[in-house]
């Protein structure tokens, strides 16, 4: 199973095995990684699962779709490497992915 590293805003790291076909968001919410609220459960409806993708991984995680992009546009502290983690589907290629979490999702 691909291993994903989540780094909280405080610097605390969580390395979680996340099944292929699930999402970066689900890996966090199902394994007690604080800092990803995911209020809508992954429907791209709420923008509370914002993460920063480690620069080295940007090519592999791809780019946001138009709905995601316009949701992100209103997130706090958005950066060029910002994504909604519910929209990053886990593939074998993402084994080792590193994402950082913002200080708040609201």
């Amino acid at each position: 199973m691909p291993k994903i590293t989540y780094i909280e805003h405080s610097g605390t790291e969580h390395v979680i095995e996340v099944p292929v076909g699930s999402t970066v968001m689900e890996g966090a919410t199902k394994h007690r990684v604080p800092g990803i609220d995911a209020d809508c459960g992954g429907a791209c409806a709420c923008a509370t699962c914002h993460v920063y993708v480690d620069e080295a991984w940007l090519a592999k995680t791809g780019t946001p779709g138009s709905m995601e992009e316009s949701m992100l546009d209103f997130a706090e502290g958005v950066e060029p490497n910002s994504r909604l983690s519910c929209q990053i589907q886990i593939t074998a290629e993402l084994d080792g992915l590193v994402v950082r979490l913002p200080s708040s999702q609201h």
Binding site: P19, G21, S22, E26, T29, K30, H31, R32, P34, D39, C40, G41, A43, C44, A45, C46, A47, M67, S70, M71, D73, F74, H106
Partner: protein
């Protein structure tokens, strides 16, 4: 060790348990659910889970192992039938009981049954649990004829999934328009057009008087309408609303009206007992002295956080405007606020483009609600303005050349 007992392991119950632990609650937390599976999310049931594109593992909110790591004692397949408020205990159908210091009722709701002859026939489905959906999905076979009774979110979302699966779909709605209870005429008209364009037959202002068997006397074959005609159907989905599970609270003498009455902290008429989610009637913070039940994930999460904060003795979280969403075909509807009492509606964008928003304004132009179709900026800014009870300039909202960011900065 009497800590917090939570009755109901849906979105609200799970969030309450988690918020207690994240807030440092050191006592016992017991989460009691009626269903045999780990806590799961309901919104995908009428969407991706029904379509088969999301499996049970992904619908699960918290696996049992994760609950255990948080020292949340999860008790599945258990129906609580009594509360003894003097002794501070709850008792299950099978006689087991749990003592509490604080009790959180997150008992949710159940489907309203269709009160007509023939409703017990095989092939008649409801949609509330994973078991319901597993049964429905097994009958979603291309070419079959599905009659959907009730043009609310559940009915329309199922209609969309069934059309994609190649079924012939008829939606039968008693009111004059679909989504009549939850949204405005503009949005209803849009969804009627959308479904008709996708090949769904929509009958509004149409009552159902009976379900009739077909060749197999035990199985539904047609829906009898109030005008005497019939709609042939190989299967039927009934989505005519839900009823709050407030009986447990009422039997214990807690105040209930439409659901269990709660205050701004989600506390019931007993200071040791909270009620959260679908089962609770709450003050609607941004709407004067109105009260009501909100059937939504946002409400479940917010009330769970309020109850946890009250038990922890920490400040309550800021109250957001209520919000909802629905996915049908490639169209995402996001709703913020409650449009009841609106004096006018301002359209932003053209419904024909499948990307527009309807803003609903109170007398004096305070923003009450926004229905946003494939329009995230309108939804997000609308939600913030509603929470601030902001007065807005209708002509700005209607002007697509003024961005929502500009409107957020200078709305009036």
């Amino acid at each position: 060790m009497a800590g917090v007992v939570i009755v109901g392991a849906g979105q609200a119950g799970v969030q309450a348990a988690e918020s207690l632990r994240r807030g440092g609650y050191a006592g016992a937390v017991t989460l009691i659910g009626e269903e045999p599976v780990a806590p799961y999310q309901r919104p995908p049931l009428s969407k991706a889970y029904l379509a088969g594109t999301m499996d049970l593992d992904r619908v699960i909110l918290k696996p049992e192992a994760t609950l255990a790591e948080d020292a949340i004692a999860f008790v599945p397949a258990t129906r609580i039938t009594a509360i003894d408020r003097a002794a501070r205990t709850v008792t299950a159908e099978d006689g087991r009981s749990w003592a509490y210091e604080h009790l959180i009722l997150a008992t949710g709701s159940r489907v309203r049954r269709l009160p007509v002859e023939g409703a017990q026939l095989a092939g008649v489905h409801y949609l509330r649990t994973t078991t319901d959906v597993d049964g429905l999905r097994a009958e979603l076979v291309a070419g079959a004829r599905l009659a959907v009774i009730g043009g609310g979110y559940i009915g329309l979302e199922v209609a969309a999934v069934a059309r994609k699966a190649g079924l012939a779909v008829t939606v039968i709605e008693a009111a004059e328009r679909v989504l009549a209870r939850v949204t405005t005429p503009e949005i209803s008209a849009f969804y009627q057009d959308l479904h008709r364009a996708e090949g769904v037959t929509i009958l509004t202002g149409t009552g159902v008087t009976a379900l009739e068997a077909g060749a197999d006397p035990a199985r539904v074959g047609a829906v009898r309408l109030a005008d005497g005609s019939t709609v042939p159907a190989d299967l039927v989905l009934v989505g005519i609303g839900i009823i709050p599970n407030a009986e447990l609270a009422a039997q214990a003498g807690l105040a209930t009206t439409n659901g269990i009455d709660t205050d701004t902290n989600a506390c019931t008429s007993d200071p040791a007992i909270f009620a959260i989610g679908d089962c609770a009637s709450r003050p609607l913070a941004h709407y004067g002295d109105r009260r009501g039940r909100l059937e939504s994930v946002h409400n479940a999460l917010e009330q769970a956080k309020l109850a946890a904060a009250a038990i922890l003795g920490t400040p309550p979280p800021p109250l957001e405007a209520p919000w909802f969403w629905s996915d049908q075909y490639d169209v995402k509807l996001q709703i913020a606020g409650l449009s009841t009492g609106a004096a006018r509606t301002v359209l932003r964008g053209d419904p024909a483009t499948r990307r527009f928003a309807a803003f609903h304004l109170a007398p004096g132009n305070r923003l009450l609600a926004v229905d946003a179709v494939n329009s995230a900026p309108e939804f997000i800014v609308g939600r913030q303005l509603i929470a601030r009870q902001q007065v807005v300039a209708p002509e700005k909202l209607a002007d697509m050349s003024i961005s929502m960011k500009a409107i957020a900065a200078d709305p009036a």
